[in-house]
């Protein structure tokens, strides 16, 4: 099997306006690779929600997207506060976002559930005070 294609991005945690730029670029890259619109949309939305989360909660981080012949893998890594209770965080509607974030259209407690919904697998590796790594896969 050929080597996976890897796209790497640094996500700026200081700038809400630019949040989503990495997801936009990934969408373009996947289009160029000729993946189906449905797959591209699922990858884009899951990554976008993750990117927004990194900006809102974790002062940014990194995003790596790997494309193999079998799947697209998205790895989002931050050094934010971590998630104390993952089960609670996965519930639709649960959010720790501030009113400011809600006024910007996010923080409805749908981010993580959306990421799980749009992907075939999602793993959350989180340590309070250290950071969070989320690995998602969309099968081709």
């Amino acid at each position: 099997m050929s080597e996976p294609l890897i796209f790497h991005f640094d996500v700026d945690g200081e700038n809400f306006t630019s949040a989503g730029q990495a997801s936009t670029q990934v969408k373009k890259n996947l289009r160029q690779l000729g993946l189906s619109p449905d797959i591209i949309r699922r990858v884009s939305i899951a990554m976008y929600e993750g990117e927004i989360n990194m900006v809102i909660h974790a002062d940014g981080g990194t995003a790596d997207v790997g494309v193999t012949e079998e799947y697209v893998e998205i790895v989002l890594k931050d050094h934010g506060p971590g998630i104390p209770n993952v089960e609670q965080a996965m519930q639709e509607g649960f959010s720790t976002a501030t009113d400011t974030i809600r006024s910007l259209g996010f923080g409805a407690g749908m981010g993580l559930p959306n990421m799980k919904r749009y992907t075939d697998s999602m793993e959350i590796d989180t340590v309070v005070g250290v950071g969070t790594t989320i690995t998602m896969r969309v099968n081709l």
């Binding site: 949040a19 619109p37 996010f106 749908m110």
Partner: protein, 117 residues
Amino acid sequence: MKISMIRDLLDAEVLCSEESLDHEVYSACGSDMMSDVLAYVKDQAVLLTGLVNPQVIRTAEMMDMVCIVFVRSKRPTPAMVQMAEADGIVVMATSKRMYEACGMLYANGLIGTATHV
């Protein structure tokens, strides 16, 4: 429904991508919460919102939407309009409120699509 009909029904001003006004659309959603838009909509085409920030455009991009209607006389910034134009998304603004705008489009055949993927 053609996007041009949305413009006519809502008495809206088109701000970019006028070349796509003949595009046919079949569904729409109205929300100020982008996470809800990302969660509940499938095969959507039109977003009605009163929220004004660049993430509205990004959300529409991610969802492959083709038209954004800003309600309640909200105006997107020039940078937002540029972003939308680069992706071929029609942006328009209307003075109508969300409830009225959605109701007019629904009554004329543009249904909602409140389903999970």
